[in-house]
Each structure stands twice: as C-alpha cells, then as structure tokens.
Subunit: 329 residues, 2 copies
Amino acid sequence: MSPEDLADRLQSGDRRALARAITLVESARPDHRARALALLEALPKENETLRIGLSGTPGVGKSTFIESFGLMLTGAGHRVAVLAVDPSSARSGGSILGDKTRMERLSRDPHAFIRPSPAQSELGGVARRTREAATLCAAAGYDVVLIETVGVGQSEVAVAHMTDLFCLLIAPAGGDELQGVKRGIMEIADLVLVNKADGALAAQAERTCADYAGALRLLRRRPQDPEGVPKALTLSATEGTGLDRAWSEMTALAEWRRAEGWRDRRRADQAVHWFEDEVRHALLRRLSQEPVKGAMTDLAARVASGEIAPATAAQELLDHWLGGAPPDR
Amino acid sequence: MSPEDLADRLQSGDRRALARAITLVESARPDHRARALALLEALPKENETLRIGLSGTPGVGKSTFIESFGLMLTGAGHRVAVLAVDPSSARSGGSILGDKTRMERLSRDPHAFIRPSPAQSELGGVARRTREAATLCAAAGYDVVLIETVGVGQSEVAVAHMTDLFCLLIAPAGGDELQGVKRGIMEIADLVLVNKADGALAAQAERTCADYAGALRLLRRRPQDPEGVPKALTLSATEGTGLDRAWSEMTALAEWRRAEGWRDRRRADQAVHWFEDEVRHALLRRLSQEPVKGAMTDLAARVASGEIAPATAAQELLDHWLGGAPPDR
C-alpha cells in the first residue's frame, strides 16, 4: 500500500491501517523509514487533538487511572488513544502496556486504541517513534491521546516534549516522601493528581494534595499557568471520583493556553526539539553505515596499534568524510 | 612556540612547558586544537608510566590519601602527576583540585605536578582533555599519574577508560551501606582501598574491608586479575600506614597484567574508545558550525511554522550536507 493510500485509510478511521502505520514508523529499516516520512508528510497538520502525558512511579495506579479516565471520556463521546514510552520494555520484554489485561475494559472499547511502547534499546528511539505514533493517532481521529510513562527520570522529559499537558500521578504519602519526587519532574508537571483518595487513605490523600500544592507554589511562577502555578487535585481511580474534575481542569487549562497562544508556541518549540533530536541521531547513525563504517574500522585498527593518536584519527575521518571544515574539538 | 619545540621542552622536564601544553589541549579554539594535535603526534608513544584512577565519595579522605601516597612515592624516587576529572567544577567554580591547599605539601614537592580539573560544562569534554593531559604528563617524565574523580557515576567510567588501574577509596561503614556502592563501580574497580583504618575506626575498617572482599568475590571472575577477583585492603592516610602495601599491590598487579598482555590490550581498547568518542563529539560539534548551523536555523524556522515535519527536515539537512546516503532513522 502506498503511503498516500495508508494515509487515506487511516484518516477514514480504519484501526488496522492505524496499527500498520505505527508499525511502519517504528521500523528501523531504511526503506520503511522513507515510507514513514512520506506517510507523515501526507497527513494534514492536525491541531485539535489534546495530547496528555501521564507519569507516575509503579504502584500509584496508572493503569487503573487510565482505564477509568479513558472509559469516562469514551462514554462522553471522545475517541481515546493510549500510547506508552517505556525504555525498559526492550530489556524486560514486557512493556508497561504490553499486557492489555491491565486495561481490559478500555482495550475492548471500540472508541479506544491502546498501543504498547515500541521495544527499542534506547529512550531516544522509543520517544521519537512514540511522538510520531501520537501524530498518527490524531490523524486517525482520536481527539485525546494519553501518553503514559514510568516515573524514572529522562522519559518524563521526553513525554513532556510531545504533549500539551503533562500530568504527574502520585499516591498518598507522608510529608517526608515529598522530598523523593524529583524537582525536575515537579517543574515540568502541568497538573498533579493524587490518586487513591478513597476509604482509609482519603484524609491522607487530601494532606498529600495540600503538601504538593504548597510545594508547587514554592517553585518559580510560570506564565503558562493561568494562576501562575500548576494545580494539585485528588481523585480515586477505583471509585471513579474526581475524574470529571480532573478532565475539566485539563480542558480549562488547555483552552486558556490555546487562547493565550501558549499551545502553538509549545508545539512549535517541540517540533524544533524533535527536528534537532532527529538530526543528531541520524548523524550518529551514519557512523555505522558505509562508507564511514569501513573507514572507522580501518582507523580503529591503526589507533589500537598505536600508529596514530585517537584525536588525530578522528580528525582524519571527519576531514575525509565531510571535507575541509576547520579542526574541531 | 611550535608544537615540536613545546614537545622538546616538555620532555626535557620543563614544568612550565607542561602546564602550557595542558592549557593548549584544554582550549576550545580550533587553531589551538590543531596545534594540540600536532603536539600529541610529536610525542613518543610512552608505555612505562603507570596511570592510576582514584574514585571516592566526598569525605572518604581522597585528598589526604593522595597527599600521603604521593609524598611516599616521590620520597622513593618517583615523579608523580595528579590530575582530576570533575565535571561539576565548571558549575561550582571550585574544582576538587582547584584549592592546592588541600594537598599543600605535595603541591610544593618538586617531583610532583598537580593540575586541577579542566573547567568544562560536560563530562565528555573534561574526560577527553584529562586523558590527553595524562599523555603529556607521561611524556614529561612523570612515571606515576594519579587521576582523581568524585564518586558520582559516569565520571568513574571515563577515568577507568584512561587508566591502567582503577582504585576505589572508601571509608569504614556499616554492612548496610555496602548496598549503596553502585554495582557498576564495583565492577570496574581493580583495587578497593578502605581508608581510616586507625584509632576508633580500625576494627570497623577491617570489617568493611572483609565485607567488600566478600562482595567482590560474588561478582563474576575476571581474567585480568591474577586471583580472578580484585583485592580489598585497609590503610590510614593520616597515619601513613598501609600505603606501602597498597603501592606494592598496585605494582604487582600492573606487572602481572603487563606480562600477561592485559595492559597492552586495555590500552589498545582505550585508544579505540577515545577515537570513537572523539568522532561522535566532533561530528555533533559540526552542527553548530557553518555551513550546517545556518541550514539548521532555516529548517528549524520552517519546522516551527509547521511547513515541514521534523523528521523530514532532518532528512533534508543530512541529505544536503552529506550527500545521497540512504534514509536513516
């Protein structure tokens, strides 16, 4: 199927075409990559889908939240896609979304589309491909795209770079544990959601929420928040309480940012970020392709034997490959 | 002064020429870089200097150890150079070796040469330049080069990649704290040195040493150790006890590895590692130089406006710059 045909089928709402298109953008084969680029170019520049990033450490109830929240949204007429960025999935073999039984009801919902994290060995590759998958989901008519990630450092930053809103899901905790949340993650969060505000944990959830609200006020004020700081809310994914409030806060924030021009600015910045990321990555990939690969192997042998210094050999390779640019460090 | 003259002066034992040569390899200016490469090429391929990496978290007594150990070596007729890899020095303004009062006696010793960490913003740059500084020190007749680093992750790996022996300096600790030492660092350590084996801590130091020896035996056996596992020793830098034993273990290990071919193999692997590192770094540097820089700025503007997709723009840049290689991911 040509990229243009695939683009048409995908936009008509064909789920199999969407799954196939995502497989195409995930592929490492050069000919697949060329077709993936043609497919992405053939799609209209979408603007109306809301992309929501969701991070939280294991145990905070991410799957339960996504299932309850997703079902609420599809019940209200939305079409919801769920993607994941999990750089550990390549190693562990089991993606955080690999097991659809984690979200059994949502995965059977005809208005929802769930796709596990691409299995790649490095975060950059996983993130680049998930970002493109989100574009495909938007083109396929999903008006809400949730991108889940595990709470382990750099993957949150990558997800924040591909979403309109970044939400941090946390569990009720003692005040001391607040220290454990990385400052970097607090700084990129647009909304903090305290889960498990039910039963015996209800009061503790409210205290945790107040602690986070206080911590968020201590960080520098951000012009992209209507009140200068992100909000913190409680909810219960298992009881389904607070989900509607979370959604109305998300849409209100998204609407405000759109009206104020923040959304377009963020998307433009993100596009430039991914462009630069693609350039760096593709450039380094050339080192493992001919003719550079062979030249590197030859020079490495001369370096290993002591015939030539490492830095001189590097200079020689680049000069030969790229022509007479000035020496580099 | 020409690179060849500087090479001659440096090899004649001129300390100012050595300091100047290190400043040259640390410089970011392209014309300096070209002269630095010429200088490194003009030096003989040294083989007899022993390069020792030393890592340890703040508070374990690294400075005291280096001062005592260095003075013992210069007293025995060695010439000792001390370098540092501290990626935080650029930010904090104060290198771990910036304050020579930390090693006051050693810094006044005519047979010792102390040089603070180069102030650069990223570990890669600091490490590349420190490795070259070690080569200069060796050419200048320093037969022992100690390279210190703070105990924070990646910098140890970089130092292990530029030394013949990598030593981990630790303080006496409870058994539980053993868990806190990163497995990765245990795996690259060639010798574990438990400092502060004096006074009230003497017995605890012995227990810590036994705990580490046990932990080292649990890791996979390494053919580059004569007994299959690295050793653990106690010493007291303040009292000067155990330093001779540490030195004789280092030299015995270095001699054995040299006789068995491990030293040359390690040095060859290291040279290839630094060659590949230089290539990657220099390649990415070209992105911030003309003509690529201007082309990237233009494409970034088109990406920001939505005129072209990030991945397509990246492909266009690379095709234009590097010619018709196959599409890339």
